[in-house]
Point group: D2
Chain length 138, copies 4
């Protein structure tokens, strides 16, 4: 699968007293990968917010935890576009250690204008890139 992939390492901050990564922290790894993916597409989130007054907020996250990651593990995190509309897009994300998928998630993000946190259209240049990506998949 032609997913964008971003590497992450497990540090003390990520683990909990069970000796494994705390379940909320995989969402940090997944957010980092989405940020780097958008950055690789030419869209720096901080800049997009300054220029367009919009941000992307997670609207849904459906997460399956299959196996735990541990201290010092080297992970890589994938992002793969599933669907893109006028004000939303969805991605598949996985967190892998080697060939093992530890966590899989389907994430839907909504484009919001940051004044009132109301839905907004995805800025045209990004919408076009997402459209092109989606077409390539089909």
């Amino acid at each position: 699968m032609s997913a964008f992939r971003h590497s992450a390492r497990v540090y003390w901050e990520d683990t909990d007293a069970g000796g494994i990564v705390f379940y909320a922290n995989y969402l940090k790894f997944m957010e980092r990968a989405r940020t780097e993916w958008l950055s690789a597409l030419g869209f720096d989130l901080a800049q997009v917010e300054r220029e367009h007054g919009i941000a992307f907020a997670v609207h849904r996250a459906d997460i399956e935890y299959r196996a735990p990651a541990r201290l010092s593990d080297r992970l890589d995190v994938g992002v793969s576009l599933i669907d893109a509309g006028r004000a939303r897009f969805s991605v598949d994300q996985d967190v892998r250690r080697g060939d093992t998928t530890l966590v899989h998630a389907r994430i839907t993000l909504a484009c919001l204008e940051t004044e009132a946190w109301r839905p907004a259209r995805i800025p045209a240049p990004l919408a076009e890139r997402l459209d092109a990506l989606r077409s390539k998949r089909l």
Copy 2:
């Protein structure tokens, strides 16, 4: 609905540069509420782990983010048992500010023995409490 409810306040640590609570941090609020709920049922997680060598790990989390929480907000977080089996149970959780539901989630937890992180039976006293709770709902 007869949910157990636990209060939380939004501090700087919970927010992000968007001015709202970072999406992963609602999972912390929900975990705190589950811990307090089990504690109210008579099961302290640290003690359960020492005595029974088991812990509860999230297996699935399906989360819908409806509206953002902000700095200083007073939230309350609900836990409501949906289903309980031999080695798993599921809860509905919501994060509310006053009458507004900000986040809703369905969480499935698996009982694991903490040596090898393999599935284990829920310790009998807790299984009985969960069974009793579930029956009351029906």
Copy 3:
């Protein structure tokens, strides 16, 4: 000592794979206590920022870690004003479990205007409250 005290409980999110609270997370407990202390003095930080365009940023933190906190521990966190100037104030903070001080810190906060993050005078009503507190100590 006439410190303001705020209670905190240790949840999974706070711990690390060493089985103890991760060292950075005590700074979260201390920030919560400072927020509640200012709130008890009549100053809600979110409101102060909206009304005065200022925020308090930590300028120095000198922290001594004496003993670890663990999962499910009930802690209480103290705040005691040490010094207050025009644009800064310092507090002593401790994190205790029962009679045991686990962490002690001296924290200096700077008042900054949030547009350019430049030093600003502490708003008069708060400056007066801090002055009164400091005098009481002397």
Copy 4:
């Protein structure tokens, strides 16, 4: 200065509603750099804990916050050994963005055996590496 340096990027998870990195989160960046530094010296912390039953806990942290980091910033974090004894060592750490030092800290770490969290001698191979490093500085 011959510091070990490790890069970090600021993601949403690191920021707070002030639009800057939350003060506790610089301690995460500094911990990551210490872990990578020890790893570069040949000591993987997870492995050291398994083999020697010891871990390094922060005993003191004296931190000066000079300027804030923001979303998307590319930082680099330094570690420079200051002193090493039988059961403790101290490092200077800085967090820089380009030529600007944002945060400077002096951190003392204690070697603890992880059963009872009591002081322990630094394992000989690591003690020798730290000694060699310290001599090179003098």
